[in-house]
Symmetry: C2
Subunit: 378 residues, 2 copies
């Protein structure tokens, strides 16, 4: 791609600061090396081959995906060690099987029910399909997974004793509730429970005779705040690559760490209402508002200078499908941000904001040097 | 496409009921015929060629778009009468010019500033580009546009007196604030003001000598509740094609009118927390919550039987990126909605929910008969 400046981009669009991305990824890798565990980046945030490779220090390595569309896209690009971290159901076995056989890989899967365990064995016998299975444990989030003491863990593990091609690999848990607090001690205690519940759960495995069971845990806050991860096989995390205001609002990162922004143009001045109108609305920014719990002044995003990324002290107060409104208390802003000028918006929640876009514009030394595709949808 | 049943679709995905769509479109056309005005469907809701044609009674006709990406896509499919209803800025002239010349069409544009008016004239002289311009009027929404009495209307209209290729066509306004109420009298009064402000604004045009100025107004509620639309050239509206819970909650449509739903699979039973987990989360449903103002019990969507679309009395209470949680008060639901079963979700806001998806699965007589593409992004 030919090198561009910001002025040459169609707005609204995503701008990804490669230097910040590389620094964020490097810090997470170092943390996991210190903790003596494997980092399995969750690509549900970037949904991009190039970003995943940076997260993996420019190599192809273990990744986590949230959809089979991601699994297929990454498998087609040579990724072989893929974990699909959302509970699978029998309707999706056919597509999993297709991807595995086409790309000669195994996509590790997650279950939390005996019904699906039995269906896996049946399918495997019928189609000669290899399955690598994790049992999901609920360590306190209250979404998917079984309590670590649930008797169903034993029952599920028994299902797989009878079939060679279906390998129960271990357990998986996700402390998603670590996002609900900005209290470091609380995060540390959630991180402890995440680790302990996962380790306790595998003790219930029936006749586990395939080496040590794997223990997969993960959320960005618990990875960063964990005091140790002894006996934890791997950590799954994603948001640390880009960061966002939700994480900054909880003190998990700094605003200066946020690598992804929405580039927008000022398209109007409403002098009657003292509003500056931009061309990034609900589709370009998403309606996620999650930073506002701990940082109530950010609205739908913080407005920054497009080049320096200096926070201007302005927020997106209202959004419509293709309009964002910035309320101003000082009319000098009409001169500072004339119609046609550019701004960059720090997003509430990177995963959701990026999902409205099909690609990233890659920023290096204040120039756009590349465009990286995202794989959206299912 | 070969005919499928719902069980054969990848979940989550959009299901569009063609019968409901056709009925919704037909009623809006009849309303505009009665009001003796032209309907210019806003394709920002469906972003689909096939849906737009149904809205236009199976013909190619006038449409409204919210992005130049939509403009280009529809122009490439033969649509010639396109109005881009978001204020344009000079950075976007090049693309507009490209689309117009490539597809031999004129994309009508909207402005509300003297700066952009002058830039249009300059660009037109330099590139020999034809422009058809509307001035945006703010009839009370407080977003874009000028007050109908604003002296800038005269000044803008003067800018175009000097240039043959730049035609000031008329004014445009959008009563977006009609969505903020469920009171019919209030909507009627907003509809009156929308019409009156637009008509009053063109009186300020300087030396208008190109026939009668065009008056473009529109929002779905004001179209439906208008007592008359005398002297109004055209109405722009979009959400009426699909409807959604936000509109139903305000009494603008009935729940049985909603044509688009998200098909999802039950992927888990959380017996500890009495939750049913589905594979439609924030990306498949969007984080739009706008129906809850007047219908606080709907959460992120109403759960329906996949075939009958009977509302089951269950709602999506929490969403994560790829998970939706249905809280149940009666454990019988675990039997009624086993893991692997399908549900269809009525969305809060169709425009935003559909934007997470790249296509529609078309439902006719309880079978999926086709797949229609959406044009997302910018």
């Amino acid at each position: 791609m030919e090198i561009k400046n910001l002025e040459e981009l169609n707005t609204p669009c995503l701008v990804l600061d490669k230097t910040r991305l590389e620094k964020n990824c490097s810090l997470a890798r170092e943390k996991c090396i210190k903790l003596n565990t494997i980092l399995r980046p969750h690509v549900k945030t970037p949904k991009s081959i190039e970003v995943a490779k940076i997260a993996l220090d420019n190599e192809i390595g273990p990744i986590t995906v949230s959809t089979l569309e991601e699994a297929e896209y990454f498998a087609s690009s040579g990724f072989k060690d893929i974990l699909y971290a959302v509970c699978i159901i029998p309707r999706k076995f056919g597509r999993l099987d297709f991807i595995q056989k086409k790309y000669n890989c195994v996509i590790r899967i997650v279950i939390d029910s005996i019904l699906v365990a039995k269906a896996i064995v049946d399918y495997s016998k019928l189609h000669s399909t290899k399955f690598e299975i994790f049992i999901e444990i609920d360590c306190g989030e209250g979404r998917s997974g079984l309590d670590f003491e649930d008797k169903k863990i034993i029952e599920i593990s028994k299902v797989f004793n009878v079939c060679d091609k279906t390998n129960l690999m271990g357990v998986l848990t996700h402390a998603g509730h670590s996002y609900l607090t900005d209290n470091k001690n609380e995060i540390l205690s959630i991180a402890n429970k995440e680790r302990e519940d996962a380790l306790a759960a595998v003790k219930h495995f029936s006749n586990f005779n395939k080496g040590n069971p794997l223990i997969s845990i993960g959320s960005t806050p618990t990875m960063l705040f964990a005091s140790h991860l002894n006996n934890i096989s791997e950590v799954r995390a994603g948001i640390y690559m880009f960061w966002d205001l939700a994480q900054a609002s909880r003190g998990i990162c700094k605003i200066d760490d946020i690598a992804v922004t929405v580039l927008a143009s000022v398209i109007g001045h409403n002098h009657q209402k003292n509003k500056i109108i931009i061309d990034a609305g609900a589709l370009a920014l998403s309606k996620d508002f999650s930073a506002n719990k701990f940082m109530p002044e950010v609205g739908y995003g913080l407005v920054c200078d497009p080049n320096s990324l200096e926070v201007l002290g302005l927020t997106i107060s209202e959004i419509h499908q293709e309009h964002g409104s910035i309320n101003i208390s000082n009319v000098d802003w009409f001169d500072k941000l004339p119609i046609g000028s550019l701004v960059r918006i720090l997003p509430n929640h990177s995963c959701l904001t990026c999902a409205g876009h099909s690609s990233y514009n890659i920023l290096e030394n204040n120039m756009i040097t590349d465009s990286w595709k995202r794989i959206n949808g299912w």
